[in-house]
């Protein structure tokens, strides 16, 4: 009797553990099955050949998502350019230089930054960063890829800081002691021993930050201008994969070809972030085994 109860409780917990696998598979399955009509009628090639995204064109609808992918990576890579150096510097300070007291204060503050809702950041980009950029670069408005990169970067910063800090803290104490005993200063130790030893963890942190930046929706939707043209610089307006879904999903008739082609966009976005996250995961695990 006791055994039956114990076992059934165990299986209930097992089931809920399995659920996260089902949800992930379910997301993939539903994205794919809803994409399928579009992939069948338009063809995969149409999504990845040169051209524009314009499924509602009166004469010849176009489904190319190349400009969207380009916009997505511009915003993602642009944000990494300043987030990785800034984030790693903050992490190094928190892990190696700051007094325990300082750490106790600053870590929750960084968490507060992580808690700012994306729509509030987007709003800030619209009303503060955009006018600033337009003044600096002499543009009619500051709603462009640069603005998106800055905001998405702010969004990814806490992720990068906290993961990079974990990676730096995880470097065994002996490494530091050996370096200090050889006469190196704490800075030389940090620069030449600790950070290089934590490099794969830092790389994983950056990849996860990139994953967040690529998947972010509302902030980029509000800050990048969402033009469909082929962007030539960071001062051009861009539209990302995520923003494209957010803009068009609300107005598209359910079940239409346009509706299903938006799921294709979602599927591509899902696959890109999935690969980025998986890569981060692999690097992270290998590095943990290594230390």
């Amino acid at each position: 009797m006791v055994n039956i109860k114990e076992n059934s409780i165990k299986y209930i917990f097992l089931l809920s553990g399995l659920l996260s696998i089902f949800i992930l598979l379910g997301i993939f399955y539903l994205l794919f099955s809803n994409s399928y009509p579009a992939l069948r009628d338009v063809g995969i090639k149409a999504f990845f050949s040169r051209g524009y995204w314009n499924p509602t064109a009166y004469s010849v609808p176009q489904y190319s998502i190349l400009n969207l992918i380009k916009g997505t990576f511009m915003v993602g890579a642009g944000s990494l350019l300043f987030v990785v150096p800034l984030g790693v510097a903050c992490a190094a300070y928190l892990a190696e230089v700051a007094a325990p007291r300082e750490r106790e204060i600053f870590k929750p503050v960084i968490e507060i930054l992580a808690g700012i809702p994306s729509v509030v950041l987007g709003f800030f980009g619209l009303v503060v960063v955009a006018p600033l950029l337009s003044r600096i670069f002499g543009l009619p408005n500051g709603i462009n890829a640069l603005n998106g990169s800055i905001l998405v970067g702010i969004m990814a910063l806490p992720t990068v800081i906290s993961l990079a800090e974990d990676a730096i803290s995880a470097v065994p104490q002996e490494y530091r002691h050996a370096s200090l005993a050889l006469g190196a200063t704490r800075w030389q130790t940090l620069k030449n021993v600790t950070v290089p030893a934590a490099l794969s963890g830092i790389l994983a942190a950056s990849l996860l930050g990139m994953g967040r930046a690529i998947g972010e929706t509302i902030t980029v939707l509000m800050a990048t201008g969402n033009a469909l043209a082929d962007p030539s610089s960071f001062l051009d307006s861009v539209r990302t994969l995520s923003a494209n879904i957010a803009i068009e999903m609300g107005e598209v008739p359910r079940g239409s070809l346009h509706f299903h082609s938006l799921f294709v966009v979602g599927l591509v976005l899902f696959l890109i972030t999935f690969i980025v996250n998986l890569l981060a995961d692999i690097i992270f695990n290998r590095y943990r085994e290594g230390v």
Binding site: P117, S118, D281
Partner: protein, 295 residues
């Protein structure tokens, strides 16, 4: 090498260190300044709009006047619904991973799924919500569909925090319980769970804060542009603070007139999310000390 040279070298070496550490410190201050500017701008321009009427009345005159009451209530409802899904599931998953699961392929796959779930873009959760809850389950665009979507979105946060809480319970509690002849579930339910509850609560609150601030997953699963009344049932559409701010900031026909209202909405949303986050942080700090003192 003269002793003079050596001490010169030392000075420049430690001089360098000082400069470098200040460089790192300045990077951290840069981040803090960014945070400060964002918070001050919103607080400064939003405070003037906040009034009793703003908090307790629906929008009027094509959303150019009045308050945000339905949006506050809508966000509250949808967050509670998300919690109903995420909290039991998240805690159960954490119990499985920390107490029952053996090291092996299955556990690894579950962990990888959770980590990847945490990385799924929120707009993709929105699409999933449309395909599953709105269409397949037939909930329509509704509080229920949006709440379930947000619940799944916050699941990884809840699991991670609940697991951390379980990990802080000393192994000796478990061994003691089993040694006294308790079954595994008796041991978990009477010895492991009670001390882990505050830590789990932290995770729940963090998850809720995240759910309350999300816009993308509710865009097509139930959030409404404007409703003068409160949602009547789980199957009604609803107004929500993040979506309302999005509308006021970008979609309204008279953006400059409603800008102060947008600031007010942003401030209310920020305060809501911060109160939740702060609660979680305070709870965690008080909780962390417990086992360390008892050791």
């Amino acid at each position: 090498m003269t002793s003079d040279k050596i001490s010169n070298d030392k000075i420049s070496k430690y001089h360098k260190e000082k400069v470098a550490f200040w460089g790192l410190r300045i990077s951290l201050f840069t981040v803090l300044i960014i945070l400060g500017v964002i918070l001050c701008d919103i607080a400064y321009k939003g405070l003037g709009v906040i009034s009793w009427e703003f908090l307790t009345r629906p929008p009027r005159a094509g959303m150019t006047a009045g308050g945000i009451f339905p949006a506050i209530v809508g966000t509250f409802y949808v967050t509670v619904l998300a919690a109903f899904l995420a909290v039991p599931l998240g805690i159960a998953t954490a119990i499985f991973l920390n107490e029952y699961a053996q090291k092996g392929k299955l556990t690894r796959i579950i962990r990888i799924s959770l980590r990847n779930l945490a990385g799924v873009p929120s707009i993709v959760f929105g699409l999933f919500g449309v395909a599953l809850f709105v269409q397949k389950f037939g909930f329509g665009a509704s509080l229920l569909a949006a709440g379930m979507t947000l619940g799944l979105l916050t699941l990884p946060v809840t699991v991670t925090a609940a697991e951390e809480a379980l990990k802080t319970v000393p192994q000796s509690y478990r061994e003691g319980g089993l040694a006294l002849g308790a079954t595994k579930w008796q041991m978990i339910s009477t010895l492991v769970l009670p001390p882990a509850v505050p830590g789990m609560l932290t995770g729940v609150i963090l998850g809720l804060a995240r759910a309350a601030g999300e816009t993308a997953p509710i865009l097509f699963t139930g959030a409404a542009f404007f409703l003068p009344f409160l949602p009547a049932s789980p199957f009604s559409q609803f107004m929500a603070l993040p979506y309302h701010l999005f509308i006021l900031a970008t979609q309204h026909h008279d953006i400059s007139t409603v800008r102060p209202l947008a600031y007010g909405t942003a401030l209310v949303l920020l305060v809501l999310v911060f109160v939740l986050n702060l609660g979680a942080i305070v709870l965690r700090y008080r909780f962390r000390g417990r086992f360390q003192k008892g050791k």
